[in-house]
């Protein structure tokens, strides 16, 4: 707004002059505070529209007995994915599988996968640990043990990779493939494998991060966020309109002869 420098005799009331009155400056501050509040609410709502899609799944980071949520000889359910599990089991000596091309912290290396039999007699594949070379992974076989109870993350079986099997190299952690390699298979098997949190000596712990919950856009919250933005704009507009009303009112002659 330009500063009015005309003499004060019969100067018309301008928008800028009314807006600079303390009362309307206070009103502007109030309107801006309201708009900021609304914008903050919109921001919060926007965050909620992305983050808080209802996740009714179990807490994957709380260790639960494997038998309490996983079942044998059935398919792997979504709500079992990546849960921390504890299980009492013993390793079957000699039933080792080495998997190639396994990344750990971005480095390619080898997994040593053991064949465990749980206390109730079911077979369970256990990814014991990671080593940078095949030789190091193989060397760990001799001393490999698992603690009781064994704690690890329960993950679904991977699809077997045929081409590499033909070349004598195996990279997929496929329970279906393991069953054919184990010398002694009871006929009862868990459809997933456990990534052990306690690697035997000579192996690194396999990096198994917490699963990322599926994100869904909550459209209701998204529309409310837009609504808050509109309200914020409206708070400013209302201030403008009220000042304008005063300007018009003060510039109007006597209301009795206000012919338009």
């Amino acid at each position: 707004m330009s500063v009015d420098t005309r003499p004060a005799v019969d100067d018309p009331v301008t928008f800028g002059r009314v807006a600079r009155r303390p009362r309307w400056i206070a009103a502007l501050i109030l309107a801006l505070a309201l708009a900021a509040g609304f914008a903050w609410l919109g921001q919060w709502q926007l965050g909620r529209s992305i983050a808080s899609a209802p996740s009714d799944g179990p807490d994957t980071e709380r260790v639960a007995p494997l038998t309490s949520f996983a079942t044998t000889n059935t398919s792997f359910r979504d709500d079992q994915l990546g849960r921390l599990a504890s299980v009492d089991a013993r390793l079957v000596p000699g039933d080792w599988v080495l998997l190639s091309d396994r990344l750990n912290g971005g480095t390619e290396g080898w997994w040593l996968v053991g064949h465990a039999v749980t206390s109730d007699g079911a077979d369970l594949a256990v990814a014991l640990g990671w080593a940078p070379t095949k030789a190091a992974a193989r060397a760990a076989e001799a001393t490999a043990t698992i603690p009781t109870p064994l704690v690890g993350r329960y993950l679904p079986t991977e699809a077997p990779d045929m081409p590499s099997v033909e070349k004598g190299v195996q990279s997929a952690s496929s329970v279906a493939a393991f069953i054919n390699q184990w010398q002694d298979f009871s006929g009862t098997v868990y459809p997933g494998y456990l990534v052990s949190h306690a690697p035997p000596s000579g192996l690194d712990r396999i990096d198994s991060p917490k699963p990322i919950p599926p994100e869904a856009l909550n459209w209701l919250n998204l529309f409310y966020a837009i609504e808050w933005a509109v309200f914020a704009g409206f708070a400013i507009y209302l201030w403008y309109r009220l000042v304008k009303d005063v300007v018009e009112h003060e510039n109007e002659p006597e209301p009795s002869d206000s012919d338009q």
């Binding site: 009714d56 209701l220 609504e227 309109r241 009220l242 009303d245 018009e248 009112h249 209301p255």
Partner: protein, 146 residues
Amino acid sequence: MPAGPRPEDIPRIRIVLAIFRVSAIVTGIFLLGLCTMMVLRYGFHVDIEVGGSQGFVALQQPKLIEALNFSTFELITHGWLYVLYLGLDFLLWRMLRFSFGRFLWFALGGIIPFLSFYFEFKIPAYVNARLAEAEARTATRTEVAA
């Protein structure tokens, strides 16, 4: 200080007023539904399910609802009806040129239960009185001019 309606706005004001009355009644009804729903959801932890397995209308835990969650429907619908109500309140304020305080007071109709039912007859009475004043002013002026 309020300037009162402009004569050329009077026909438009009557239309807006008619829509406002309907809006006040409908918003008021949904506000009562909203109160019911809030008490059920936060007091008793149930929502209203329509057309579900428990019967046509049933109270059910929100997580177990598979059919239409009427409580959420009510919540959303009241929100939008109130936006319409505020819009009509805004139009009346602009065209009748009454005070900002009165605009805010009328806006409470969609928030305080039962208030909009009071407004439904009180505001038209107020508006009609202002229109009558404006028409009387115009009539006097025309007589003077004639």
